[in-house]
Symmetry: C2
Subunit: 255 residues, 2 copies
């Protein structure tokens, strides 16, 4: 799976890093707080006895502050619930922070010591791998969280027709290309659910946030315009031989 080896957010903490350019992602996390609280309450009610250690996986965590923001939200929701339920002894937390092997885990881990000091009952681990495959042992997770990661497919779908210089679904893409993307998502999401079903404990739960669209038009500007712009820029660069057409074809095929 070539995409798995090369795809990752910009590492480090500099100007072009994901860590310094993820304010939209942080806002989205903030918006999903009520859903997360509801899910944690459901978890509490369905698992008995309440475990002394909660195991939580954040899938597609990247290396920026969003990873820790999600952690804080989960802890906040659990502690609130414990107070409400008169549960005096809050649990320990085992957080599995997952992303692809190309993610900058070094940057993520260097930011950890401060977080660990603040939350002495939190234990963090990094898990490098694709969530379109098994990542954890059977029945080992209580809660799975993934924010704005599942819209990334495991690979560029196999297409019978050429995508006419596009790098994703665009207004000029043939219907067969649109269908190929749809099938790829169906396959990927089905694998994702099968893997998580094995890894979650009975009564465990998930909160997943996707990029979506309100329009029925699959190449709607709500989700696809950024890729059309990027394809235009790449094609322009090809016309100036930077990069070569062969490189562009490889980008389009994800190889």
């Amino acid at each position: 799976m070539e995409v798995m080896k090369v795809l990752h957010m910009n590492g480090g903490v500099g100007e072009t890093s994901y860590a310094d350019n993820s304010s939209v992602q942080l806002e989205m996390l903030s918006m999903t707080r009520p859903i997360l609280e509801e899910a944690i309450t459901g978890l509490y009610l369905s698992i008995s006895p309440w475990p002394s250690t909660l195991t939580i996986a954040d899938l597609g965590c990247s290396s920026g502050p969003t990873a820790f923001f999600a952690v804080s939200e989960v802890i906040g929701a659990v502690e609130n619930l414990c107070r409400k339920m008169g549960h005096n002894e809050p649990p320990e937390y085992q957080f599995y922070l997952n992303d692809l092997p190309g993610n900058d885990f070094n940057a993520l881990f260097r930011a950890l010591p401060k977080m660990q000091e603040e939350e002495a009952r939190c234990f963090f681990t990094g898990v490098a791998g694709s969530f379109y495959g098994r990542l954890f042992p059977c029945k080992s997770l209580h809660f799975v969280h993934s924010s704005l990661a599942l819209q990334w497919l495991s690979q560029v779908p196999r297409m019978i027709e050429c995508n006419k210089g596009n790098i994703y679904m665009a207004s000029s893409s043939p219907k067969s290309v649109m269908d190929a993307y749809y099938r790829q998502f169906q396959n990927d999401f089905s694998v994702f659910l099968k893997c998580r079903a094995m890894e979650l404990v009975p009564g465990g739960c998930m909160v997943l946030t996707f990029v979506g669209r309100r329009s029925e038009d699959r190449s709607s500007s709500e989700c696809c315009s950024i890729w059309e712009l990027l394809a235009m820029a790449l094609n322009e660069m090809v016309s100036e031989s930077v990069p070569s057409e062969t490189v562009l074809i490889r980008i389009m095929k994800g190889t």
Copy 2:
């Protein structure tokens, strides 16, 4: 704890990397195989029922092939035992690979996919932190392994006397300095044992390999000569003002 932030083996996979310069460590791992097998047998006999997932921590794993060599040894020992005991369904394995936050986890994780493909029942996570503190939730580990890592202290000990230009115990070190190193080891190892006692399940076990010496002389060449040579080289560089004496004093104090 400044030492924790800066101490790590050379990352990457190049000529000067730890990955390419750890043949002694690999040999040591090979030598301890019988001890490891004995420990795994003891674990099997003391834990009932035999868990469907074995959780194993390798403390001070670094980023080289030694991390995976230890993993293979553990798996080999468990599979052997399962065959002997007529236990047809081998367990899943959750490996926690631990080292300080400055370790090159990116290099470690990039080497993982191949290992994961070979061992489909193995799940790997990286844990960044000092083993002179809590790293895992209570009663979460079956087996702890650490090879040639526990001789690294958590900090340069507080010393009442100057160490006469040495950076470790040397033949010219005063007795008070030797005693300070001894006390530091006692404190550190005591903290290590207390933390692991909380993290291991009842019946869990550990295999720890240290650098030792046969001689009673604490500055014996068996373990200390390399540091005497390094101190001589540093002092020579100071006399040529590279680095300055202030920098050397910081190195000696680990700050």
